[in-house]
């Protein structure tokens, strides 16, 4: 089914083109030249120091995208990525800062803590869904607020945090260098060593989902809860596990920054990964390569939009473009789905002999 693959590529490209056309209209109306805007963004965005920053942002986004994609495969909207990430990176930083261990072990412990905390926070939403029927959308939004509150409380100097004299910034104690992950020198910059883990995570995600029995059960439950159940899958448990897995993945979002850059958690850690992650999973069609491309594109837009203010164009125009892109991508994929189904039915219809028109249902006479 070649046409299916072609459509899968055309849909995101079409959505990008549409969203670009949309902001072009706005730009022209405001008296800016869209071509010039793209030119200056490309120039700025492809400068090597910015490329390094984009790679670092992209690898962070990428994990958020994979975390969202795991949920999507099960028809779950994990809006809790934000809370899972924040709680996970906070506790990983706290525990990493408390212990001293040999280098590899120390990093492994930090990563383990992050995944465990994120996983448990995600599993909580899964538990509420399976046992109490609470939509994960609602519970994860609430859990985000709770997580933010917990972290803000524990970051107080009286609790687990520290405040440098003369600074407003609160942070956790700095982790010993044994708990640092080296950076990779590329293009004269420093790329987080965790980017390699990100790539491995993408690979593991794909293999697990597409090759393993576990992945089949997960996807089957996503396709049809009832059919999976009839097929011997403990579908409720799969929902719980999926939320835990998505949360564990979300727990890794802050690792690149923590292990290779800041070595402590502070209030200046970025937020808003839930929506970015969901957007990237949509854009990349839950495929690890698709998400990677989407993550880089997103990071590129984020970073290079910084130049726009200098040119007298508000950088928020890029936020509008990102929003438009998500809306149009959802529409585009829905269209692709419908077209594919129609095409396949036609294909099947053409290839099969006309069947007898006589159909029976129970007790109904055919004439």
């Amino acid at each position: 089914m070649k046409s299916r693959n072609l459509l899968a590529v055309l849909a995101p490209l079409g959505a990008i083109a549409f969203s670009f056309a949309f902001i072009s209209v706005i730009l022209i109306a405001k008296g800016s030249n869209p071509i010039e805007v793209v030119k200056s963004m490309a120039e700025y965005g492809f400068a090597s120091r910015n490329l390094v920053a984009e790679l670092n942002i992209a690898s962070t986004y990428y994990i958020a995208g994979v975390a969202a994609a795991i949920g999507f495969k099960m028809n779950l909207f994990n809006i809790g990525i934000d809370g899972q990430y924040r709680l996970a990176v906070f506790f990983a930083a706290v525990i990493g800062g408390m212990v001293s261990l040999p280098p590899v072990l120390h990093v492994a412990l930090i990563i383990f803590v992050a995944m465990a905390v994120g996983g448990l926070w995600g599993a909580l939403a899964g538990y509420l869904k399976v046992k109490r029927g609470i939509s994960e959308v609602i519970s994860t939004i609430m859990l985000n607020a709770i997580a933010a509150g917990i972290v803000a409380y524990l970051l107080q100097p009286q609790q687990l945090g520290e405040q440098a004299t003369g600074s407003n910034n609160l942070n956790t104690p700095i982790i010993d260098s044994s708990g640092w992950l080296p950076t990779i020198p590329i293009l004269g910059g420093e790329v987080h060593g965790f980017i390699i883990f990100s790539l491995l995570i993408g690979l593991a995600y794909w293999v697990l989902l597409n090759k393993s029995v576990f992945g089949f059960n997960l996807r089957a439950t996503g396709f049809s809860f009832r059919a999976a159940r009839a097929g011997g899958v403990n579908a409720s448990r799969m929902i719980l596990i999926t939320m835990a897995l998505s949360g564990a993945m979300a727990g890794l979002i802050g690792m690149g920054t923590l292990l290779s850059q800041t070595h402590s958690y502070s209030i200046s850690f970025p937020s808003g990964f839930a929506f970015t992650g969901l957007a990237l999973a949509l854009l990349g069609r839950n495929h690890p390569v698709g998400i990677a491309l989407a993550a880089f594109f997103w990071a590129f837009l984020d970073r290079s939009s910084g130049v726009l203010d200098l040119n007298g164009v508000p950088r928020e125009i890029i936020t509008i473009m990102q929003g438009t892109l998500i809306l149009s991508i959802v529409v585009a994929y829905q269209l692709v789905k419908i077209v594919n189904k129609k095409q396949e039915q036609k294909f099947v219809g053409k290839a099969t002999l006309p069947e007898s028109n006589l159909v029976k249902t129970e007790g109904v006479v055919s004439k």
Binding site: S212, F214, N234, V348, S356, S366
Partner: protein, 503 residues
């Protein structure tokens, strides 16, 4: 009395199916008219035509002597025909009054609902017809019988003169049934006409002024209760002659494969859904389960498949107790399962056929080694199924949704028989499939039986049950009420057993 509804020669076809043909029915004003028949006899289609949900292809419906053609239930309501559904359509978190006026709210200019006027009208109706409803009570606080009264009040409020009740007693306990009948009598004493659908012969004989029997899409008889009896009605419902079995030359062995012993199962509300069920399926035997839908058939299957837990009794497969095993483990012990709803329970509709081959066999070779899925094995075996069961598809890579119903079903049958399970649970294996697919599936079941597979066949198609079964167990209200020999059973016996009568 005068004829209020006159149905003449109604015919209704769905693509490839004739749901109603040559349906003739006369209903007198002010009577209680019962319509009885098995599942699929065409009762529901006829009712849908009467209350305006579907239009007949040919034939006429006269109301008070005038030909009508409804485009929607609202049209029917305008002429006084209202439907009381079996599954109540009430908003739980709204009051009785709000539910009653929903869709026909009396409003003043500006769109403000006149609750007071509505309340007075509802109370008048309740008073007049002896329907005990309290307008301000929340529906969520009501019991089943009370909800039903609200449904009745709702159609009366809208001005119904002819009420159609779809199996109104199916959900009620005996005292509620008694109360309902008193309500219905009260309604007819005010000149209203009641049409009620049932398959409970006792009720019909006790309540109705006249009875119309439907079978296989058509009306077969109209009788008056005083001129008939249960035996005759049962015979009319099931048909004059039962289909005969095909091949009976080989006998099943006496080695039990599936045994249920005193299995009982409670719903969350402590209602008994299976009650002391004991049955055995032997090697090389097809045990048919007959019964009116909703009498515990699906629960019976789900307990065997480990999807719902039993409260007492034991289930064994080849002498191994499986009562505590998970569904996965039960399948792995050699059980195939053809669910009755192929699209919802049998297939991943948006996944390709070969992935559907994996469903249910995630942990059995050659499809899997327990951890990894073997994609090429799944594809090879899908090709085999497509070939052996004549599944009409150009490729195993198309999504299941693209196939026709019969071909989907053939694929499921092939999948569930792969690996030669010890036990096959086949629920409505040929429901809604074309005749070609039906005979192919029947042949596959017969072949499997000959090769020693034990088959539990749940069906509401009597042809299917009589053609295939070595023995017939009849289920009613969660109990096995009879085990019959299809060779010697009369239609009367089967009909009575299915409606819960002792033989």
């Amino acid at each position: 009395m005068s004829t209020i509804i006159d149905v003449q020669g109604i015919e209704k076809k769905y693509p490839g199916v004739i749901a109603n043909y040559d349906v003739n029915l006369k209903i007198e004003s002010g009577e209680i008219h019962a319509i009885i028949g098995e599942n699929g006899a065409g009762k529901s289609t006829l009712m849908k035509i009467l209350y305006g949900l579907v239009a007949p292809d040919s034939g006429r419906v006269l109301i008070n002597g005038k030909k009508v053609s409804f485009k929607s239930p609202q049209d029917a309501m305008e002429l006084g025909v209202g439907m009381v559904h079996q599954h109540f359509m009430l908003a739980d978190n709204a009051t009785v009054l709000e539910n009653v006026i929903l869709g026909s709210e009396p409003t003043s200019t500006g769109g403000v609902i006149q609750f007071e006027a509505a309340r007075i009208k509802l109370l008048e109706i309740a008073e007049k017809y002896g329907l005990n409803v309290r307008p301000d009570q929340l529906v969520s606080e009501l019991g089943i019988g009370e909800r039903q009264r609200v449904e009745i009040a709702k159609v009366l409020y809208k001005g119904a003169k002819i009420l159609i009740l779809d199996e109104p007693t199916a959900v009620l306990v005996p005292q509620e049934v008694k109360a309902l009948f008193e309500n219905l009598k009260e309604l007819t004493s005010h000149g209203l006409t009641i049409i009620f659908i049932s398959h409970k012969l006792d009720e019909v004989l006790a309540m109705a002024n006249s009875i119309t029997v439907m079978r296989s899409g058509t009306t077969v008889a109209s009788v008056e209760p005083k001129n008939t009896n249960k035996g005759e009605l049962a015979k009319l419902m099931v048909g004059g002659e039962l289909p005969k079995r095909g091949d009976t030359s080989t006998k099943p062995s006496d080695e039990p494969v599936l045994s249920l012993s005193h299995v009982s199962c409670l719903a969350p509300d402590q209602r008994e859904i299976l009650s002391d069920v004991s049955l055995t399926v032997h090697k090389g035997e097809i045990l048919g389960i007959a019964g009116v839908a909703g009498n515990g058939q699906s629960e019976l299957i789900e307990t065997i498949m480990g999807l719902i837990k039993i409260d007492s009794g034991t289930i064994t497969i080849l002498n191994v107790d499986i009562s505590a095993l998970t569904s996965r483990e039960i399948r792995d012990s050699g059980v195939g399962y053809i669910p009755q709803d192929r699209q919802r329970d049998g297939l991943l509709m948006m996944a390709p056929l070969w992935e559907n081959r994996i469903l249910g066999h995630q942990s059995t070779p050659p499809i899997s080694n327990g951890f990894w899925v073997n994609k090429s094995a799944a594809k090879i075996d899908s090709e085999r199924i497509v070939k052996e069961l004549d599944v009409r598809t150009p490729s195993i890579n198309v999504m299941a949704a693209a196939l026709s119903g019969g071909n989907q079903q053939k694929f499921i049958v092939g999948r569930e028989m792969s690996g030669d399970p010890n036990l096959l649970i086949a629920s409505q294996p040929t429901r809604g499939v074309d005749v070609g697919a039906q005979s192919l599936i029947w042949n596959k079941l017969i072949e499997a039986r000959l090769s020693g597979m034990a088959i539990l066949l749940i069906s509401s198609d009597l042809d299917e049950l009589f053609n295939l079964s070595d023995r017939l167990a009849v289920i009613s209200k969660g109990k096995i009420v009879a085990v019959l020999d299809p060779e010697t059973t009369t239609p009367e016996q089967l009909g009575l057993a299915m409606t819960g009568e002792k033989i």
